[in-house]
Symmetry: C2
C-alpha cells in the first residue's frame, strides 16, 4: 500500500496507480485537515470523489504527524493540541475529532487516535501513554458511526513485550473490524522490530486484518508476513524512488551512480513495469543528473510495482505453503545488494 | 510540437506523449551537447533509442540557447564560443559542429546554425549578422551528410521587411527539405510579429514545410497558419502549465486561483483530455496549493492536448476552407479571457 499524503501519491497519477493494480491508498488526516480541510473535501463528496479514486482508501488518525511534524504539541487527556507546520495556527485533535474528520473524508478504513510515544520513552511514561491510548480508543469506538468506514484499533508498547501483550488485550477487548501495530520502525534496529512483531502479531485476532503501520523494507515486509501480518503502509518505496534508489530483484540500484551512464539495460531485467519495459539505466541516470521531473515518476512507478509484486509473491507463497523459502530469497537478494555496475 | 529540452518533455512521460498523439519532439542541441553529451547518445544508438521515442524528433542548432543561456559568448566568423551555464566550461559551436552533433543525435529534422541577433540590434549589425548566417548556412549544407536527417535553413532579419526579403532569397537559394523563420517572439509586440510573418511566410517555397520557431500563443499559431506556416515549437503550453495556467476553449484559467477551491467542474468542460475527464478544478487547485508534483503533469497533459487539438482544428478548417472563421473564433475566446470563477 503506497502512501498518499495530500490526496495524491507523490510523482504519479491515479491512472498510474490503477494500471499498477494498487487496491488501496492512504490519506493523511493531519495534512488533509490543514489543507484543503475535511469540510471542503466532505462538501465535494468525500476523498474518493475529490481525488477521483474509486478503489479503497485508508486514513490515519492524524496522531503520528502531530508527533512528527507539528510544533508546540501538548498531549492531555482531552487530546493533542499543536501548531500547524504550515502557518503556525493552533489546532486540537481529539479522538472524537479524528473520527469525525476521517468519516467526513469518507475513508473505507479509519484508524483510532493514539499516541505513538518516543522510542526512548521511560517505562512509567509508556504505561501512562498506553492507558490513555486505551481510553482514547474507547472514545473513538463511541464516536464511530459504524457506517461506511471500518475502524481499526492500534496497539502500542514500544519494544517492551509485557506492555505490548497487555495493550493487545486492552485494545482487542474492543470489538473492531481490524487491528494494527503502531510504534514500530521509529528508530529501533530491524532485528528488534522483527523479534517483537513475531511475538505480538500472532496475539491479534486471526479473523481480522492485522496491519503493521509505517513498515518497511522488503525484508521487513516478508518477515512480518511470516509473523501473520496482512497489511502495511510505508513511504519507503516512493521516497527512495524520488532519491534515485530502486528496489530490484537483484538488490538495490542507485540511479544517480555514474556507473550507469552508458548502461543500456533496464533497471531490473526481471521486472515487467513500464519503466523497465521502456527505459535504460543510462536514460534514467541522465534524467536524475539533469533533475528532470520525469525521473521521479519513472522511479516511483518501478518501486511501487516492485513492492506490489513482492506482496503478490508473498500471497502466492502462502497459498503454495512455501513462504519460508520466499522470505529467505528476499533476504538473500537484499543482503547481496548487487554492486551498482551490474 | 512540444519542446523537449534534455531528452524529456518536462513533467510528462513518453507514454503520455504517445497517448496525446504527439508526432514530433524537439531536442535542444545546446543542452544535450553539455549533458549527457552527443557522443554518449550516439554510442547508445541515437536520441530516439536513448529516450525511447520512435516518432519524429527535431533538434535545434544550439545557437538560440548559446545566445540565451550561455555565458561570455563570442561570435566570430568561425562560430560561437561560450561558457556552459552548468559548470563554466569553454565550448565552441560552429556550423560544422552543430550539424555533426545533430546528425550524431540522429534527429529526423535538423536546423542550420544561425545567429539570432538581439531584437534591438542596429541595422548595420543586423546586415553583418545576416550575411554571416548565410555563409554559415552554406557551411551547414556542405557539412550535412544528406542522410536520415533533413536540414532546414533559417531566415532571420528581425522586423525589417527589406532585410527579411533579402534573407529569404539568400536562404532559399540553398536547396533544402524545409525552411524556418527565426528571430520572432523575442520581445516584439504580437501585432508586429503577425504583420511581419504575414509578409514573409508566403515568400518561402510552397512545396516545403514552413516552420515558425519559438511561437507562440494560440492566437499567434492560427494567425501564422493563415499566413501559410506549417510547423511551430514553443515552451509556452508546458511552461504555463507548470505555473498553473491552462489554455481552454473558454479562455485561460489560473488553477492557483482561490475561486476554484470548491469548483467541481473540469478545467475545460469541452475538453476530452485525461485531466479534464478525471479531475475537478478544486482538486487541481489543491494540488497546486500543496506544491504536489502531480499538478505539473496533469496541467501539462491538458495544455499539450489543447495545443494539439488547436492544430488539428486548424488542419480540418483548412480542408473545409473555413480557416478564417476558425482563427476568428480562437481570437475571440483568447481575448475574452473568461473570469477565473467561471
Amino acid at each position: 500500500m503506497p502512501v498518499g499524503t495530500q490526496a495524491t501519491v507523490k510523482a504519479v497519477g491515479q491512472d498510474d496507480l490503477c494500471a499498477l493494480g494498487v487496491e488501496i491508498l492512504l490519506g493523511n488526516t493531519y495534512h488533509l485537515m490543514l489543507r484543503p480541510g475535511e469540510e471542503l473535501v466532505g462538501a465535494l463528496g468525500g476523498l474518493h470523489r475529490f481525488m477521483a479514486w474509486e478503489r479503497a482508501i485508508l486514513t490515519d488518525s492524524g496522531g503520528f504527524q502531530v508527533y512528527s511534524l507539528a510544533q508546540n504539541r501538548r498531549i492531555t487527556e482531552e487530546g493533542a493540541s499543536f501548531q500547524s507546520h504550515l502557518d503556525g495556527s493552533r489546532w486540537l485533535l481529539t479522538p472524537e475529532r479524528s473520527i469525525e474528520i476521517q468519516e467526513t473524508l469518507g475513508a473505507d478504513i479509519i484508524m483510532a487516535f493514539d499516541e505513538c510515544p518516543p522510542s526512548k520513552a521511560e517505562r512509567p511514561y509508556l504505561e501512562e501513554s498506553l492507558a490513555r491510548t486505551t481510553r482514547w480508543l474507547q472514545r473513538c469506538a463511541t464516536a464511530w458511526s459504524r457506517g461506511r468506514s471500518a475502524l481499526f484499533g492500534i496497539v502500542q508498547g514500544g519494544l517492551d513485550l509485557e506492555l505490548r501483550r497487555r495493550h493487545v488485550a486492552e485494545v482487542c477487548a474492543v470489538e473492531l473490524p481490524g487491528y494494527a501495530l503502531g510504534g514500530y520502525s521509529v528508530g529501533e534496529r530491524p532485528e528488534e522490530m522483527h523479534a517483537s512483531v513475531a511475538e505480538v502479531a500472532p496475539l491479534l485476532p486471526e479473523d481480522r486484518p492485522r496491519y503493521l503501520m509505517g513498515v518497511g523494507t522488503p525484508v521487513d515486509l516478508v518477515t512480518a508476513v511470516a509473523a501473520g501480518v496482512d497489511m502495511f503502509d510505508c513511504v519507503l518505496p516512493t521516497r527512495c524512488a524520488r532519491n534515485g534508489l530502486l528496489f530490484t530483484t537483484q538488490g538495490r540500484l542507485n540511479l544517480r551512480n555514474r556507473a550507469h551512464a552508458r548502461d543500456e539495460r533496464p533497471p531490473d531485467p526481471a521486472c515487467s513495469c513500464y519503466t523497465c519495459r521502456t527505459h535504460s539505466r543510462a536514460y534514467l541516470r541522465h534524467l536524475f543528473a539533469a533533475d528532470e521531473l520525469l525521473a521521479l515518476r519513472l522511479a516511483t512507478l518501478h518501486n511501487l510495482h516492485h513492492y506490489l509484486e513482492l506482496m503478490r509473491g508473498a500471497r502466492r507463497a502462502i497459498e503454495e505453503d512455501r513462504l519460508g523459502a520466499f522470505a529467505a530469497g528476499v533476504r538473500v537478494r537484499e543482503a547481496g545488494r548487487v554492486p551498482a555496475s551490474q
